[in-house]
């Protein structure tokens, strides 16, 4: 299983801080597409993805136990 984290406006849309999902073997792009459709998430094309706290590319394959996070454009500072 995989913990999938949401932040900022995605968290507001979902009303959840995270979901437990079986994403093993899926690419980042595949998981993102599924999530976008299932939860009607807005503007996911601007959202980056992190696996285990490091930015991941769209074709990276998710392993069992990986923590995935969707990272909207940041606005710290």
């Amino acid at each position: 299983m995989n913990k999938v984290l949401f932040f900022a406006h995605l968290r507001d849309c979902l009303s959840e801080e995270f979901l437990m999902v079986d994403a093993k073997g899926k690419t980042v792009a595949e998981l993102k597409a599924e999530m976008t459709e299932s939860y009607d998430l807005p503007k996911m094309d601007t959202v980056m993805t992190a696996i285990n706290e490091e930015f991941a590319t769209n074709d990276e394959v998710i392993q069992d136990g990986d923590v995935v996070a969707f990272i909207p454009p940041v606005s710290g500072g």
Binding site: E53, I71, P72
Partner: protein
């Protein structure tokens, strides 16, 4: 630890103390504060949220980038989370270097990188609404005109 996320007000002197070194002739600090007006629109307060573990890692990465690029530099960064009022401090960046030109350049590099790669988000609260900045959603209309991200992210 030179890189931190804080739910309490940031002690500027404590951040500076982390970069003091006998080889340094210059220390610069950048202190990001909550500004009341942007293009005439009045901010009431802000909320900062972070992916905390990753944010600390990315701050560390920025410090390593700087120490690799500006010889003899030392870096410390603390970013605040939670609700911030006008004039409250959101971030403190301290950089020490042997020579002063480097201290300015390296410090500027740090704040620009924070705005690129550190998973921290700011929700602006105005009299007539609220919005996560940087989200480019355009899903909420603000009668007073929505401020541009580039003008806000400081």
């Amino acid at each position: 630890m030179n890189y931190a996320i804080s739910k309490e007000p940031i002690d500027i002197q404590a951040v500076i103390d982390k970069v003091i070194q006998r080889e340094a002739g210059a220390i610069t600090t950048f202190i990001g504060t909550v500004r009341e007006l942007t293009h005439g629109k009045r901010t009431l307060f802000l909320i900062y949220e972070a992916y905390e573990a990753m944010a600390v890692k990315k701050l560390e990465q920025i410090g390593l980038e700087i120490e690799g690029r500006w010889e003899g530099s030392k870096v410390a960064i603390t970013h605040r989370l939670g609700r911030l009022e006008i004039t409250d401090i959101a971030v403190v960046i301290a950089v020490s270097t042997p020579h002063r030109a480097d201290a300015y350049e390296a410090n500027r590099y740090a704040i620009e990188r924070i705005k690129e790669i550190v998973p921290i988000w700011k929700k602006e609260h105005w009299e007539d609404g609220e919005e996560w900045m940087g989200n480019q959603l355009e899903t909420v209309a603000y009668p007073g005109g929505k401020p541009e991200e580039d003008d806000l992210v400081e």
